[in-house]
């Protein structure tokens, strides 16, 4: 527990009841956030806690177990935020002997938190304030005398309270969405640095050895996912999305980019990138890229990921990967979410095209689609809140409010969060998942890849979990509510134990069954797979209740950006695939599956009681 207002640090043993009821990681975090906040608090004020949670398996050899969950109220949406990042921070924190860090209050002057096993202290950070993440990482390692430290920090964007400022792990890995970086910035918390050299024990070493090594082997044996992941990274999906007409192009005007193959994983890995892996990973989907020639020679960064290749590439009309790498580098060192950053750039470009931004307001920039120098300049302007960047830094919907009603269509954003790079008009599972996601329209709470049925096993799983073959027809709503519900639960459980969603979705080799086994072997606590699923549902429900407690209705919450109801020419020729009616029907089926009131979309008091949320139900109704 770190109280930045008082400058006090307190170590507490983790309450066994919290573990029993909420599993770990994201589960414990949502419960703490619920208890520590009141509706209506200012996300950038001292009343907003920010909780950094390791997964239960972090720091062990359980496959791909290095994920860190960061939970707080979002300054972008004023709603629930869980954002997540890989790298090695969670593992190192666990090896230092800690499961969670709960930061409350705000410091008057810049500080950083230094965790060296049992020694935990707040240190002066005024000399680091204003540095980019690369500079700050170097400075911290030098001043603390250890080049192998794991750092978690904000860049100038977080310091400037940009609504989509990210929290960066080891310079380049981002907990990107929802503006958690701005929350750290508002607390003047520049960084958390950790070194962990204690022994991390498991309850049953012999059993854990068997189950963990077996899980690693099972994932490696998924030749389809492993090879695509290792060879091409997350960008493995670019080519297929473009060919299928669902790769966002020019601000989601359509989904096909001519000559877009240069944004593909195949091209990027051949020319620029080599693999990287998070803690205990089997896949190594991470990339590290270097530009060795041309005008952007010298640019280097981790990535680019699928999202970034779309957001800073196809969506802004750019197909030169070197530009995407340079844009990625800028976002990383300035501490900006690439998804939102690219969305604001493409919105500005479309607004300019429509005459809603004048050349003067653009400060002399040519805001045409495809202008690389403009995109790179805008990224810096947003991070530093300079000129037009100051407005853009407020997020797409704030920009729309300033520019007038016509601009709302150009904000591919809902609830205050910019949509991630999936054209949901081509995928009903994603459309529903994006609408329901408590933090806003993105894939990182569900990742319903099974809808694409890319291997016989995945196809069978999709049909089994929904009871219909329609599940693997992406443009059909059939089976999608059940699919989304299942994915919400496995994802929540993954975030509790700290495993990467690529093992529990995409590859589907980590299941409720083997996670339950590993959990017991690691902790000695027996939780069956059905119980795990139920806790997943409980987490989803409380996350929704957090938003309902803020005073919003299901009608206001379960929404998509308006453009998603305008047909895309490239998905089906002229055929409308997503309508408000179609979405509503899927939502109502989902509410029914969840046992919620179908009319209001609210969990009923009985349902909440059933899930063990009786106390919270009282607070919600009262």
């Amino acid at each position: 527990m770190v109280d930045l207002t008082r400058g006090e640090i307190q170590k507490k043993a983790l309450d066994p009841a919290l573990v029993r009821d909420w599993l770990g990681g994201r589960g414990i975090s949502v419960k703490l956030l619920w208890d520590l906040t009141e509706p209506g608090i200012d996300p950038l004020g001292p009343g907003n806690p920010i909780i950094f949670a390791t997964g239960v398996f972090s720091g062990t050899m359980a496959p791909s177990s290095g994920r860190l969950s960061i939970t707080c109220k979002s300054p972008a949406t004023n709603l629930y935020l869980k954002t997540n990042v890989g790298s090695h921070f969670a593992a190192e924190l666990k090896l230092a002997g800690y499961d969670l860090i709960v930061v409350t209050g705000a410091s008057k002057t810049p500080v950083y938190l230094w965790i060296d096993d049992d020694k935990v202290e707040l240190k002066e950070a005024s000399h680091l304030w204003g540095l980019d993440t690369r500079q700050a990482d170097q400075a911290l390692k030098r001043e603390l005398g250890d080049s192998q430290l794991k750092t978690l920090m904000i860049g100038p964007a977080g310091e400037n309270l940009v609504k989509f400022a990210a929290v960066m792990a080891s310079i380049y890995r981002a907990a990107g969405r929802g503006g958690a970086g701005a929350v750290m910035g508002s607390k003047k918390l520049k960084a958390i640095v950790v070194r962990g050299t204690t022994d991390l024990k498991v309850a049953d070493p012999a059993a854990f050895k068997r189950s963990a090594l077996a899980a690693r082997r099972a994932i490696r044996e998924d030749q389809y996912c492993w090879s695509r992941s290792y060879l091409f990274g997350t960008a493995q999906g670019i080519l297929g999305a473009n060919e299928g007409g669902t790769l966002p192009h020019k601000n989601f005007q359509d989904g096909f980019t001519p000559d877009g193959h240069t944004l593909s994983g195949e091209y990027v890995s051949d020319r620029y990138a080599h693999p990287e892996g998070c803690s205990a990973c089997v896949f190594h989907c991470g990339r590290f890229s270097r530009v060795k020639e041309g005008p952007y020679k010298g640019s280097y960064t981790a990535g680019p990921e699928y999202e970034t290749l779309a957001s800073l590439g196809s969506k802004v009309g750019i197909t030169d990967t070197a530009v995407v790498i340079r844009g990625n580098e800028l976002c990383d060192i300035l501490g900006l979410d690439t998804i939102s950053a690219g969305s604001l750039v493409s919105m500005a470009m479309e607004c300019y095209q429509a005459g809603l931004i004048s050349a003067e307001e653009a400060g002399g920039l040519d805001l045409s689609f495809g202008n690389a120098e403009t995109m790179l300049k805008l990224i810096e302007m947003m991070a530093r809140r300079e000129g037009l960047g100051d407005l853009l830094a407020e997020g797409a919907e704030a920009v729309a409010q300033r520019l007038g009603p016509e601009a709302r269509m150009f904000a591919i954003s809902a609830k205050g969060l910019e949509q991630s790079m999936v054209d949901v008009r081509g995928s009903m599972a994603y459309a529903l998942a994006f609408a329901l996601n408590p933090r806003g329209p993105d894939h990182l709470m569900t990742e319903c890849l099974a809808t694409y049925g890319y291997t016989p096993e995945v196809r069978d799983l999709a049909i089994k979990m929904t009871g219909t073959e329609e599940a693997v027809n992406p443009v059909s709503p059939g089976g999608k509510p059940a699919m989304v519900a299942w994915h919400e639960e496995i994802y929540a459980v993954s975030d509790c134990v700290g495993i990467c969603a690529f093992t529990s979705t995409w590859s589907y080799r980590m299941s409720f069954d083997n996670v339950a086994e590993l959990y017991q072997d690691a902790t000695g606590i027996q939780v069956g797979p059905e119980e795990l699923k139920r806790i997943g549902e409980k987490i989803i429900t409380l996350e929704r209740c957090f938003n309902l407690r803020e005073g919003l209705s299901a009608e206001q919450l379960d929404i998509l950006p308006p453009r998603m109801f305008v047909p895309s020419k490239t998905i089906r020729h002229g055929e409308v695939t997503l309508t408000p009616g179609k979405l509503k029907a899927m939502l109502e089926e989902y509410y029914g599956l969840r046992g919620w009131d179908v009319k209001t979309g609210r969990p009923t008091p009985e349902k909440m009681e059933n899930l063990g949320l009786g106390q919270e139900a009282g607070a919600l109704e009262g």
Binding site: G59, H88, L95, R134, L200, L213, C278, A280, C281, F288
Partner: protein, 161 residues
């Protein structure tokens, strides 16, 4: 000299996932702790470079030469073996090793023992899915490199580069 099986390290393929360190620590000491691992991955996060460092089982091992009690010996298999019963803790091996592959932690000295792990392959190599650690015949290393070089030159000759 017989063609030995060696733990071949290719830093160019290392992704910095640290699976090797976690597995090594656990299979030897039943806990997770990078400090207990007999293989250490050094990372430059900024440059995206990761280098695993472990005992190379030297043919003419300085640690074997310097050890006053014969606790370190070169075995027929190629392993530089450590016998804890003979170790007096003089620390000379720590300095003698030019690589830094012998470490001291918690009052014990440790180095890679080429643990016969999964199907006779050391656990670290068995769990490295990036191909940075492989348990292969020593002659393979040079052969593979030479073949890669040759293919590059053949390609250049074809394209007239």
């Amino acid at each position: 000299m017989p063609d030995r099986m060696i733990l071949a390290v290719d830093p160019g393929r290392c992704t910095g996932c640290n699976s090797c360190m976690l597995v090594c620590s656990f299979v030897h000491d039943q806990v997770f702790n990078y400090e207990r691992s007999r293989i250490r991955v050094w990372r430059d996060d900024d440059q995206g470079v990761f280098v695993p460092v472990t005992c190379e089982q030297c043919e003419d091992a300085p640690c074997v030469v310097i050890c006053p009690t014969g606790a370190l010996t070169k075995e027929a298999s190629g392993l530089v073996a450590r016998n804890p019963a003979r170790c007096i803790g003089c620390n000379q091996c720590l300095s003698a090793c030019p690589i830094g592959a012998i470490s001291r932690f918690g009052g014990k000295w440790r180095k890679c023992d080429l643990c016969a792990g999964l199907e006779g392959v050391p656990y670290c190599a068995a769990n490295c899915t990036a191909g940075a650690l492989r348990f292969i015949p020593a002659s393979t290393v040079a052969k593979e490199k030479a073949e890669k070089t040759a293919l590059r030159r053949m390609k250049a000759a074809e394209t007239g580069a």
